[in-house]
């Protein structure tokens, strides 16, 4: 053994630094390099995922607006207007008011006089002309009853319309089927949206799984060598999942920005009418939608890659 140099162990003072550097190199740097190199096979996944996420963002925002509309509609549907005869006895009106106010199913009862009804009608588009065309005030006085739950509106209506103070021709605003019809339309829209999103999601996941499968195939020798030199499983699988996460976050970022931008443009352009058409869609809601789309992209990309790696990469 003459002449043999025996070196001391390398100092491990910078262990944390070395671990961070190695994890970054083998997990993230390698994944980013491979992602850029395989861009051709990743592009279809990137574009289909961007499209899916953008449509998801739009559908999500629309769903949010429709949900708010439904809340408003439910509130309006549980508001029962009991129209009073012009010649109603004030005692009858008082009795009816008291009976409604004491009913446990009723939240509030407010009296609207004919003058207040006319004033309100003049603020509603189209009605001022109607009000002006008639020499007298055509709008009746009413008791505006806020029923606690929409299911009790029919019973409260039945109780109110038998009062002698109530207009026998047009007693209340209650329309038995209106709210149900609105709910049915909403349900159909929601189901269609979910089916559409499910279909797009399936396509995006399938395309991503296949793009990662192609990446695994193109790097099978490298994977085999890493496995044979004792690389832990996370080091072999991790870069592919990071690649999927890169695809997903880029797609999510782009789709989130477009969703946010479109919503912002709608808010700026439409102002008052936009808030009626899409209630609740504010700048904050649009930003939240953009962030959710980004997070969904990240999750979708990494999740699809994980599925692909589990299915196509042998230990």
């Amino acid at each position: 053994m003459a002449g043999i140099v025996l070196k001391a162990r390398f100092p491990r003072r910078h262990v944390v630094e070395a671990v961070i550097r190695n994890v970054f190199r083998y997990l993230f740097q390698g994944a980013a390099r491979n992602w850029a190199r395989n861009f051709g096979s990743t592009a279809p996944a990137l574009s289909s995922m961007t499209l899916l996420l953008f449509l998801s963002g739009l559908i999500g925002l629309t769903g949010f607006a429709l949900n708010n509309l439904e809340q408003i509609e439910a509130g309006q549907a549980s508001m029962l207007h009991v129209y009073l005869r012009d010649d109603a006895d004030p005692t009858d009106v008082f009795t009816l008011h008291n009976r409604l106010a004491l009913d446990p199913r009723v939240a509030t009862v407010d009296y609207t006089s004919k003058a207040q009804a006319l004033q309100h009608a003049q603020s509603v588009p189209g009605l001022p002309q109607l009000a002006g065309a008639s020499g007298s005030n055509p709008f009746p006085a009413s008791l505006d009853v806020q029923v606690k739950t929409i299911d009790d509106v029919a019973a409260v209506d039945a109780m109110a319309r038998i009062s002698p103070a109530v207009d026998p021709v047009y007693p209340t605003s209650y329309d038995r089927g209106a709210y149900q019809r609105f709910q049915s339309v909403l349900l159909a829209v929601a189901v269609a949206g979910i089916v559409f999103l499910g279909l797009l999601g399936f396509v995006a996941v399938t395309v991503t799984i296949n793009s990662i499968r192609a990446a695994i195939h193109s790097r099978r020798d490298e994977v085999a060598i890493l496995q044979l030199v004792g690389a832990p499983r996370w080091m072999v699988r991790g870069p592919f999942i990071v690649e999927g996460a890169i695809t997903g976050s880029l797609a999510g970022g782009a789709a989130g920005l477009v969703t946010f931008g479109l919503a912002l443009a709608g808010i700026a352009e439409g102002s008052a009418s936009f808030s009626q058409f899409a209630p609740g869609v504010t700048v904050t809601a649009a930003a939240a939608a953009g962030l959710i789309v980004f997070a969904a992209g990240l999750g979708l990309g990494s999740g699809s890659s994980l599925l692909s790696v589990r299915r196509h990469l042998e230990s």
Binding site: M1, V5, K7
Partner: protein
């Protein structure tokens, strides 16, 4: 003597315990209805150099894959350095592979990395605490030990077959594994280069690493006079101890 191997020497607890480094107990491996290995039993002691010979399709590669847990036996037990490879979960295979250096006929070097980076890779993926500087210096030491100290920055395609195989050997031993398996390591090399690789494997065994070489090269087997395990149709038909291999004329004619 290449100094890198001197650092591979360590007090061998296994010898003291009398536990073999590789142990096959009644190992059978089937591919469908075909038996690739049939009731194979053998042991390899620490520091032993043994050859695994047999005709094509005899089961040599299957046996090596069982050692490295690329395959699981259909029946029987495979123990490697005290690890039950036959029942090892996929999540723990890396632990076993860090104890087994592997050399292939086709070298299996990563073409985008230099010779030094290929060797350093094996060191760092197995132990993330190894810094770049340490990995670089130890990789250069290992390359120096296999006679390629001046080719560390060469890409694999710039090296000859023999040099690539030396890089592969350096990569296999850089982490000081107790066992080195080689599947036809001289299969793609001319005779002179093959002798160089064989000398290298002998040196490695001399420093306490168990070496198992699957080969068709009868000339090397007969000249080295080391232990020879012969597989035919998946059965271990001969186990000749070192120095008693003779001319193996029977194998040459098989």
């Amino acid at each position: 003597m290449p100094y890198v191997f001197s650092r591979l020497v360590r007090p061998d607890a296994r010898k003291a315990q009398g536990r073999p480094l590789v142990e096959f107990n009644g190992v059978t491996r089937a591919y469908g209805s075909r038996l690739a290995l049939d009731e194979v039993d053998f042991r390899l002691e620490p520091g032993e150099l043994a050859f695994l010979v047999g005709p094509s399709g005899a089961g040599k590669t299957t046996l090596l894959k069982l050692i490295n847990r690329e395959l699981r036996p259909t029946q029987g037990e495979v123990w490697i350095d005290g690890i039950a490879a036959h029942e090892l979960k996929a999540s723990r295979v890396a632990e076993l592979r860090r104890r087994v250096g592997v050399v292939f006929q086709d070298y299996k070097l990563l073409p985008r990395l230099t010779a030094r980076e290929n060797v350093a890779l094996a060191l760092q993926v197995g132990d993330l605490r190894v810094s770049d500087r340490e990995a670089r210096e130890r990789a250069l030491d290992a390359l120096d030990a296999v006679g390629l100290g001046d080719r560390g920055d060469s890409m694999p395609h710039e090296l000859s077959g023999g040099q690539q195989q030396r890089v592969a050997v350096a990569r296999a031993v850089i982490r000081k594994p107790p066992l080195l398996i080689a599947d036809e390591p001289t299969g793609n090399l001319d005779m002179e280069t093959a002798w160089g690789i064989t000398d290298l494997l002998e040196d490695i065994a001399a420093f306490g690493i168990t070496v198992l070489v699957a080969t068709h090269n009868i000339e090397i087997v007969t000249r080295l006079q080391r232990r020879v395990l012969t597989l035919v149709n998946g059965r271990l038909v001969r186990d000749q101890p070192a120095g008693q291999t003779g001319r193996m004329a029977w194998l040459a004619s098989s």
